[in-house]
């Protein structure tokens, strides 16, 4: 029984982290209907940002998270104005090629500048690496990353529901033309969405580096996780992202304990099952998988 509680709690912690890692992807898809294949690379850059912040300046990425957020917001805004702005009303294939190309370029730039070494940092002093609750053992870094996930997801939901700007983002995601007729500038909303989405992804990378190794192609692992989370929970739905992340985290941890060989396979078995039974995801909007800007 105890082992089951331990596994589920670990799964929830992992799931929260997965949700945070996928949120930016889903936000950008929900609003601009663009699938960002370079999402994993932005996460990779976030991990390196956390790594270099700690090794060069000694600032722990947990304290440095606001800094990473600001830097990655600017990066996301540049990503939009410099690249994605030109693809926004273009066919899906154009968007796929542009983001896929960017993904390959970023991976190789990282390889060139930072080599293929696996890197990580230690943020906790010795003896504080894990929290014991009764007989349950939780890695401190995971708990902190989970805390970030809860805080950021909550903040995004509150922002989207209660502010005029947040509602304008929702409006654009539901009907672009109507949103324009209400005086909403789509350019402004797209810019903001890309900034926010990439900022969240950067912070996710920054708080993940203490518990995962960073290397130039780490993004391709996380982008697959993010796709599974988003499809599982539902395209374009923030609460869906939470549900998708937790579901994947818990199932993966359970399967990983009982049959370690199948751990990674769970992602794809889940994905295939879901696509067969419920293609719009657990909480997704029916038809969202076919949605384009209108």
């Amino acid at each position: 029984m105890e082992i089951l509680i331990q596994l589920v709690l670990s799964g929830i912690l992992l799931g929260g982290v997965y949700a945070l890692a996928a949120l930016g992807l889903n936000l950008i898809f929900g609003v601009a209907k663009i699938i960002n294949f370079a999402h994993g690379e932005f996460l990779m850059l976030g991990m390196y940002a956390g790594f270099w912040l700690m090794t060069l300046t000694g600032i722990n990425p947990y304290y440095g998270a606001p800094l990473i957020a600001v830097a990655f917001f600017i990066l996301g805004a540049l990503f939009y104005t410099g690249v994605m702005r030109f693809t926004i009303y273009k066919p899906e294939l154009t968007q796929v090629f542009v983001t896929l190309g960017l993904s390959i370029a970023l991976q190789n730039l990282a390889l060139m500048f930072w080599q293929a070494d696996y890197r990580t940092i230690q943020t906790m002093p010795p003896g504080y690496a894990s929290l014991m609750v009764g007989n349950i053992n939780l890695p401190t870094d995971r708990v902190i990353a989970f805390g970030f996930a809860v805080a950021i997801l909550t903040a995004i939901i509150v922002f989207l529901k209660t502010t005029f700007t947040g509602r304008a983002i929702e409006a654009v995601s539901q009907d672009l033309m109507s949103a324009r007729l209400m005086g909403i500038s789509p350019q402004k909303i797209f810019l903001l969405t890309f900034g926010l989405g990439i900022a969240i992804t950067g912070v996710a990378g920054g708080v993940l580096i203490p518990s995962f190794y960073a290397f130039p192609s780490v993004g391709s692992f996380f982008v697959l996780v993010a796709f599974v989370v988003v499809v599982l929970g539902g395209l374009g739905s923030v609460t869906g992202t939470i549900v998708g992340g937790l579901t994947l985290g818990i199932i993966e941890t359970l399967v990983g304990y009982f049959t370690p060989d199948l751990k990674e396979a769970t992602h794809f078995v889940l994905l295939i099952l879901l696509l067969a039974v419920r293609p719009h995801g657990l909480l997704g909007i029916k038809g969202a998988e076919k949605e384009t800007l209108k």
């Binding site: 509602r167 304008a168 539901q174 009907d175 109507s178 949103a179 324009r180 007729l181 005086g183």
Partner: protein, 239 residues
């Protein structure tokens, strides 16, 4: 108030409007009627900035607005209610109305405007928490008009308000349009429902193949046998 001259617009290589001229005076109800595919919706889209005109002039309150993005038109008080209602389907009625006040122009008036539209369409107050996508067609149309009113228009452009509505709903929507005029809002209607539109309009334009073919007062055009037969596809025996 609104003066369109020699307006050309289209989609890609397909030109739809070939030099449209029209004028709307403050306080008027002006109708644009014509058959399917004549360019009515394209005209409103071009005026509202949703579709960029290829050439011509759109003067609003004396200012040249052609080529300006839609959100600048909205800030000036030129508001369009699109064909097919196009509510935000997964937002409640209240949220749909509130987003109408997104512009700087409208935001300070949100509370009073909400009260006003709830009074104009009491059903919306009853359904305030229901999702926009779950309303009936007529209720959606009311909500779309109300959302346009929350945006505090000086000129409100309504595209095919009666399309797909039951007759009783059509007359309710038209009653509301009369009330809106009394509020001091100028109205520009685009309609396939020619009789309804002409009976409410002070003036009207008949658009045919992307050009204004005829204009006059609503009553004049309604009585004009030739208009009925040739331009509007109605025969005198049809009623």
């Amino acid at each position: 108030m609104l003066e369109v001259s020699n307006l050309h617009a289209g989609y890609g290589d397909a030109e739809v409007l070939f030099g449209v001229d029209l004028k709307v005076q403050p306080g008027e109800i002006v109708a644009i009627v014509g058959s399917n595919g004549a360019g009515k919706t394209t005209l409103l889209r071009a005026v509202s900035g949703i579709l960029k005109p290829t050439s011509g002039s759109i003067r609003f309150k004396g200012k040249e607005m052609v080529g300006k993005p839609t959100h600048e038109m909205v800030e000036q008080g030129l508001i369009m209610v699109p064909e097919g209602r196009r509510l935000f389907p997964r937002m409640s009625v209240r949220r749909n109305l509130e987003i109408g006040a997104y512009s700087k122009r409208a935001r300070p008036h949100l509370t009073e405007r909400l009260e006003y539209v709830y009074e104009l369409f009491p059903i919306l107050k009853e359904r305030a928490e229901q999702l926009g996508g779950t309303l009936s067609g007529g209720q959606q149309q009311m909500c779309a008009i109300a959302r346009g009113l929350v945006a505090t228009p000086e000129v409100l452009m309504l595209d095919e308000v009666s399309l797909g509505l039951a007759p009783v709903m059509i007359s309710r929507v038209y009653d509301a349009i009369r009330t809106i005029r009394d509020l001091g809002v100028t109205l520009l209607l685009v309609e396939q429902n020619v009789n309804q539109a002409l009976s409410i309009a002070d003036r009207a334009y008949v658009i045919q193949q992307g050009q204004i073919a005829l204009s006059g007062t609503g009553a004049e055009l309604q009585g004009n046998e030739e208009v009925r037969r040739i331009y509007l596809g109605l025969s005198s025996t049809e009623e």
